[in-house]
Symmetry: C2
């Protein structure tokens, strides 16, 4: 198993990304190809020589390699334009390697729009999928929830939401081993008749699908763990993702402020530190490293910009699992029963 | 100042609603008219005789009255249908009293769709407003944030979002005294070009308005307190509202679980109880009682179904403040400079 890592993205720079790659190599035994500036990556890698040589299961020095690239699509750059123009960008070459079969998956913490654009350009869409998208993984009181789309497609039609449901179902199976994930349609009332025009159309399609569709779900259902897959357009999904992060941060900030107001509560906080650490672990985005890019003819993981080494390590693990569990084959199988919907790209 | 309270809605029943009305009468000196089943309300009121007679500023026994009604629009009933059919429903008669000038505002914790429908039927839309809606009040790290719409209008056009911005601005001024509220447009990227078709259209309108428009904001901006008014369609707004409630509850549930795992953390929790109580107070929906119904020719407050007496008391206070501060006049004044947009209802 060989995974390509775009080692030029992410808020913490190449050092952190390479550290994550080294952890993945040592822990899981996967091969990793780093893409980016030759000198930067060689220097970053040199610091990990001893660690790679002394992995518990033997030296892994030959498990990691560098494919030098000379360009980067920046975070603020127009994705389509950047990818089109920068032929030797780390993200574009990563998906070229995937197309050529040199690697089986790609992980990136860079510009997510550019990652999607590079994937579509180099490996293309999966047969029958009109719009690839990004799935997000949300912690809940029970099992993690897969939400799709979380930002790639802002104006959608019912068919797109139906396809998101198929893809996210296949992903939930491949990563979490849930054989029949419960699929909910994000809306503003539980009755099928409630919601906007998009949701009403999608409800009809999902009701007649082979998926385990449980109907409309609401904003309050994100964290209860009563649904495994939630479907929405990328505008709504992205707002929900960022609102969740923002609210969790705000609550922590408010609580910290309140806890620091008296000596008693400061002492109390010290005694409850383990509980907070456990809560942090349970809600840590780094556990899965990022969201999968679903609907392209290959495997890609889009990581959060502020991914640390652990997140990168886990993203590499997740990419490998999706390949091993043949997620894309499962998507194709599920699309077949809904023949009239698996129309050609742009024809929907 | 006389406010009508639909005393048949709410998860906790008429007892709780009447208790809230009594508090408002005693504390603020407003008059309250209770609408609902005569016997139920007389019994509920009888329990508060002594309290009303002994208000700090003298007896308020004559400040509260009952207007008996025989019907109720249920929580699961179709709002339009229910309001049309049930001519003697508490919510419809409440807005009739408003129309007749018998009361200056209406508060309801019942079916919010029915409250909106009854308001439009009895008092009508405010001149120039195409779609009345409901504003939500979110706690933030700084001042409260007003979000509109949080559920009344699911499929919107740019003009509707522009009008939401005008109405929410007037509300923010009237209730929080912010003279020039900063208005943000909820989207998925800060650049004006980012978002769906609706948001791009609204961005153009807001950019040329008299409002203090600061541009696109994201989901993470809900709780930072850097914006005073946030505009979105009712589908997105309702999901954000319920997601926020759900996430806060889930985090508390997870933390409680973690805190109960060891004796040390249990003791620690006891020492930090005040901090938690303060946090709860800072994020308590009851402080404003509910969200205003904006865009109808009168003043209405829609309360959360699970409103307690405190929430009802505060909703009555907020209704009176909106009347005193002539919020609707301010909306009309602001709509004037944007003449081409203040078209007739349904003409947009």
């Amino acid at each position: 198993m060989r995974i390509a890592l775009d080692a030029m993205g992410g808020d913490y720079g190449s050092q952190e990304l390479v550290a994550g790659a080294v952890q993945a190599v040592c822990e899981f035994g996967h091969q990793v190809v780093l893409l980016g500036d030759r000198q930067v990556l060689q220097e970053a890698l040199a610091r990990h020589r001893a660690q790679l040589d002394g992995c518990p299961s033997g030296s892994r020095l030959n498990h990691i390699s560098i494919v030098p690239t000379t360009q980067v699509v920046g975070m603020d750059e127009s994705p389509m334009e950047g990818v089109r123009r920068k032929k030797d960008s780390s993200i574009r070459v990563a998906f070229q390697l995937l197309h050529q079969g040199e690697v089986q998956g790609v992980v990136s913490a860079g510009n997510s729009g550019a990652t999607l654009a590079a994937a579509v350009k180099e490996v293309g869409r999966l047969q029958g999928i009109s719009r690839p998208g990004i799935a997000g993984i949300f912690p809940t009181l029970k099992k993690p929830l897969v939400v799709m789309d979380v930002g790639a497609n802002v104006d959608c039609r019912p068919q797109h939401l139906y396809q998101f449901a198929v893809m996210a179902t296949a992903f939930s199976r491949a990563l979490f081993g849930i054989e029949e994930p419960r699929v909910g349609l994000l809306s503003i009332g539980e009755e099928g008749g409630k919601g906007n025009a998009l949701v009403k159309g999608a409800h009809d399609l999902l009701s007649h699908s082979v998926l385990r569709y449980i109907g409309n779900v609401e904003g309050r259902d994100f964290f209860r763990g009563e649904v495994d897959v939630m479907v929405c357009d990328g505008f709504v999904g992205n707002i929900c993702l960022k609102l969740s992060e923002g609210l969790a941060e705000a609550l922590v900030a408010m609580l910290r402020e309140e806890l620091s107001k008296s000596l008693t509560s400061k002492v109390g906080y010290l005694l409850t530190k383990t509980a907070y650490a456990n809560l942090r672990r349970r809600t840590d985005y780094a556990e899965y490293g990022g969201g999968p890019l679903l609907g392209v003819d290959g495997t890609g993981i889009i990581c959060h910009g502020r991914s640390n080494a652990t997140a990168i390590k886990n993203a590499i693990r997740v990419a490998a699992e999706l390949v091993q569990n043949k997620m894309n084959d499962r998507i194709l199988e599920m699309l077949v029963p809904a023949e009239p919907l698996s129309v050609a790209p742009d024809g929907v």
